[in-house]
Symmetry: C2
Subunit: 197 residues, 2 copies
């Protein structure tokens, strides 16, 4: 089973694409912890585990996080035990995390599949951030300049998927996951079976 990291600039549509992927039975979502304020559309234990700064610090101290990062003033982290358990249960786990955290995961787990999701144009990214109506102009401008920095790091990712049409992006991610499972280093069992039967 694979660790699949879906990441990309804020406003690239990670959330929507991940929601669609989760309709397939092989995937489960890794639920992150965050110190960010809950948005009205979000639910505790579904979108995030919301934590105080003190609680978050104690998880860091206890080495309970695979990675954590400060993004736009808030902390986000991936709880270790949840990821391990999900893979053990036979699911491909999706980690929907921002770019800094994604690269940390790849450092620790080179076998993780990093998928960089991008909007078709920078203009489109801008209008998605504005259309979301959840951030101030200052925050939007910060996110846009951050996006330029993140896009420069695209080579650190394994795959780039354009999120223009959602169903097309989902189809491409499914093709990536399928083909990764066919990679020779994941096929020892199949070869052994073939030789002995």
């Amino acid at each position: 089973m694979l660790k699949i990291v879906i990441s990309g600039p804020s406003g690239c549509g990670k959330g929507t694409v991940v929601k669609e992927l989760l309709k397939y039975s092989n995937y489960k979502l890794s639920i992150s912890v965050t110190t960010r304020q809950k948005r009205s559309t979000e639910e505790e234990g579904v979108h995030y585990f919301f934590k105080t700064q003190e609680e978050f610090d104690s998880m860091i101290a206890g080495d309970e996080l695979l990675e954590y990062a400060n993004f736009c003033g808030n902390f986000y982290g991936t709880p270790k035990d949840y990821v391990d358990k999900t893979i053990k249960d036979g699911f491909d786990i999706i980690l929907e995390i921002e770019v800094e955290g994604a690269l940390k995961i790849k450092d620790k787990f080179p076998e993780a599949i990093l998928i960089f999701l991008i909007p078709p144009t920078f203009t489109e990214l801008h209008s998605r951030l504005v259309g979301r109506q959840t951030e101030s102009e200052d925050v939007i401008n910060y996110r846009l300049s951050r996006a330029r920095e993140e896009l420069a790091l695209y080579k650190k990712y394994d795959y780039i998927v354009i999120n223009d049409d959602i169903s097309e992006a989902v189809r491409q991610i499914n093709a990536i996951v399928e083909s990764e499972k066919l990679r020779s280093h994941n096929r020892k069992d199949i070869i052994d079976f073939m030789l002995n039967n």
Copy 2:
């Protein structure tokens, strides 16, 4: 455009799978040269360019082959100019070659995608070789022992595809080709476009 090498033990069904793949418009087949005797089902310039040993030697001397190998007493080679022209014309070129030649291609062109096609079981491989009724028992036994050696090299391939159900094998190969095109090192143009629009 990609160089896709479809290889595997003799009797794995390379030919049938490749024939199905060629129904998709993105693929073209690299036609090999061989000193092997033409089978009654084969056509010059479609399945192979059939050459005398003398003609083949002169192609080696003139550096006109990407790779060549002696397999079961016959020479097989991949003509350079045909492969280059096909990629330039915008096609994914399929090289259907035996294992030794496939590994030589990967050495020279690390960006080539090596797909190892295997039957579901060794028993099945045996009955396919017998069912083909084109080789003597000695040749079949030679091919079977050769297959064991080749299967041990599976890690040198990028992907392993089981050829049990042909349409399933073709679907998997199409997923591999699609996902390879989404790899970040193939996506510089997309990133540049996105940043400038």
